[in-house]
């Protein structure tokens, strides 16, 4: 087990501006998802939604370290990852509400947020499936010499599915520029990962199988994540092949929808709520001398942005029924016969 955090390598201390950016990102994500949760209970977000409340530091730390042309692949728990790559908040909210202005025109929904224009290459709802796909995107980056790095996020539960194994080996053998980030939040849906996994650290303890170092980071410490991300991206970009990083974190709520998450021991929940990445980071910023007013300004701006996006989405039209049968094929249509 080695740590990816080597402060000298990334020019720490991180400039304040960047720290404030990280704070804003986490706040945007948090407030966006809290609103989504509310809208779910209002019956406006249909179907399901999987929140990453509590896990924002992972998404923020990586997104902040990525180049605009780098690519992100994430899961059904992907609101935050997509938003923080720069997707339009109103378009994401509208997608959750099944509206025409949604980033996927209402066809994707909460589990499939995508904004290719900002490098958010999709949210994948079959556990583990996006690991081989992300690997393929990294292969194209290598082949084209584009200098892009691909970052793919997945849960602890995904480490037990075959696609994980195939992707890791493939990426390692071809030395592809892809960073595999496991967000270990201790649970799959309702079942603890420890009860169905042969090793204690489901990702890091498996890295050696692919000739990689097992890297564990504190996923609730946004600076640590950012530092690890900067280093990992540099490593991958320089042609040194993939990395596998396990970020320890926790989801504050249940798995999805209305799940209250009561299968989790109270003490465990409490301990992790105490380690909420946002207030912790806020205190650190204050301790480092950032003015309260500056923070309050960021908070107000985030809140206003979420409100505006929500308003936008609420007022957006439902999809034109004609779009039901568009975009199956590249010609824009769905005709299967001639």
């Amino acid at each position: 087990m080695t740590s990816a955090t080597d402060s000298s390598a990334i020019g720490l201390p991180v400039p304040t501006e960047r720290l404030l950016e990280l704070y804003r990102m986490m706040l945007d994500a948090r407030l966006f998802e809290e609103k989504a949760h509310k809208l779910f209970f209002e019956g406006l977000v249909k179907g399901t939604s999987h929140l990453a409340l509590g896990q924002e530091a992972v998404a923020a730390g990586f997104a902040a370290a990525m180049r605009p042309d780098d690519l992100t692949f994430c899961t059904y728990r992907g609101h935050t990852h997509t938003l923080l790559r720069g997707a339009d908040m109103a378009a994401l909210m509208a997608e959750l509400l099944g509206r025409a202005t949604g980033c996927c025109g209402g066809k994707g929904g909460s589990m499939h947020l995508t904004d290719v224009a900002v490098g958010a290459m999709g949210s994948y709802a079959i556990v583990g499936a996006h690991l081989p796909i992300a690997t393929g995107a990294a292969w194209a980056a290598q082949a084209r010499g584009s200098g892009q790095v691909v970052v793919v996020f997945f849960g602890d539960g995904a480490t037990n599915i075959g696609a994980f194994h195939e992707a890791l080996n493939f990426a390692a053998v071809w030395k592809l520029p892809v960073v595999f980030v496991c967000e270990n939040n201790l649970y799959m849906e309702y079942t603890p990962i420890g009860s169905v996994t042969a090793v204690p650290n489901p990702a890091a303890d498996r890295a050696a199988t692919y000739g990689l170092d097992g890297i564990i980071i504190d996923g609730n410490d946004v600076e640590a994540v950012y530092a690890a991300a900067v280093e990992a991206l540099a490593h991958a970009r320089s042609g040194d092949g993939p990395l596998l990083i396990e970020a320890k974190t926790y989801r504050h709520g249940g798995h999805s929808r209305a799940d209250p998450g009561t299968y989790r021991p109270d003490e465990e929940v409490k301990a992790w709520l105490d380690r909420d990445p946002i207030p912790a980071f806020r205190s650190r910023l204050e301790a480092e001398g950032v003015e309260s007013a500056t923070l309050a300004e960021i908070e107000a701006a985030s809140s206003a942005a979420v409100d505006a996006a929500t308003e936008d989405a609420r007022n957006a039209p439902f999809p034109d029924p004609a779009t039901l049968e568009t975009q199956v094929w590249a010609d824009g249509g769905s005709r299967w016969r001639t």
Binding site: T48, K107, G109, M111, I126, I161, G162, Y190, P321
Partner: protein
């Protein structure tokens, strides 16, 4: 009699069989301690213990492989694949191994196993958690395919599936989980390959499955008011396929309509239609008609998804075309 949901019927059906036969084991993701993500299997873990009702890792090939191997070695296991879309992640085990083992070994291997799954759309889950894949399973020789349309049949057909010595893909339609019915107490056991008449009629034969059955019946009631007397057949299983009932009905009505939830191409409706036009061509007085979801992945937005799946309203409109044809 007790009012039972389709969801509860699943649990009752499994319990009925586990209580009867100690060789019945049940595994899947989140099915034990948590009682299943659709709450279909609540209480089984407590009642039958952690050995017989057991949570697995997210490893669909391991899960389906486990029930196959276990069935070869003395158990009569049930697996849950949480959403039927995930069959794709273990399709090799299901379609290449489970389906073919008996034939390839000329009968040396018997696989009394059931793989249950939540199938179909209507829950606004988007294209990777909504598809109706009964036609995938039907296309593979060696798999039996069952899809009940009501709580009573869930129990009876699940029992028949567990007792069958062949592998059964048992599809529970997601959109029916909340539906209710008065179901008699006591053991219920059906036979596979027996369609039922969900409604008798004399003008048009409508063949439906699972969630499409109540919609077809609703459409039939509306059409009755318009002077069209529709017979609705609930297929209940695709393999075995009860063509006797279908052909008998078409002989009476001379008109055939199928209503499928699965996408357009190569569904069971095409199969049923082709059998009828081959074997009962001269019984038909009008073109056959298939009502399906269009050949698209299912969209997530509620307005679009409702538009995609056959509704009773579209069934009414479509049937009228044939009835007048």
């Amino acid at each position: 009699m007790a009012d039972l949901t389709y969801r509860q019927a699943v649990g009752r059906g499994i319990a009925q069989e586990m209580a009867r036969d100690p060789r019945v084991y049940f595994i899947g993701e989140d099915i034990a301690a948590a009682g299943g993500v659709f709450k279909t299997t609540e209480g089984l873990h407590e009642r039958f213990g952690p050995d017989r009702v057991r949570d697995t890792p997210i490893s669909e090939e391991a899960i389906t492989g486990a029930v196959m191997g276990a069935a070869m070695n003395g158990l009569r296991p049930i697996a849950e694949i949480m959403f039927s879309d995930f069959f794709a992640t273990c399709w090799d085990i299901v379609a290449n191994q489970i389906a073919k083992a008996r034939y390839m070994t000329d009968g040396q291997i018997t696989l009394p196993l059931v793989i249950r799954s939540a199938n179909g759309g209507g829950a606004r889950f988007g294209a990777q958690h909504s598809q109706a894949m009964e036609n995938w399973a039907m296309a593979v020789p060696g798999l039996k395919v069952v899809a009940p349309s009501n709580p009573r049949d869930v129990i009876g057909l699940l029992a028949a599936s567990v007792r069958a010595d062949d592998p059964v893909i048992f599809l529970e339609q997601k959109s029916l989980y909340a539906s209710k019915q008065d179901v008699p107490e006591g053991e219920i056991v059906d036979e596979l390959g027996k369609a039922t008449l969900a409604r008798e009629g004399s003008d048009v034969t409508v063949v439906a499955l699972a969630a499409m059955v109540p919609r077809a019946v609703e459409a039939a009631e509306i059409l009755a008011g318009r002077g069209v007397d529709v017979e609705v057949i609930d297929l209940r299983s695709l393999v075995p396929l009860d063509m006797t009932t279908v052909l008998r009905s078409v002989a009476k009505t001379s008109r055939l309509v199928t209503v499928e939830e699965n996408p357009r191409l190569c569904g069971w409706g095409a199969e049923v239609t082709s059998i009828v036009t081959e074997e009962a061509f001269y019984d038909l007085d009008a073109p056959t008609l298939r009502i399906t979801t269009p050949h698209i992945p299912l969209p997530s937005a509620d307005t679009l998804e409702d538009l995609a799946m056959p509704s009773s309203a579209t069934i009414v409109t479509q049937i009228q075309r044939v009835a007048n044809g």
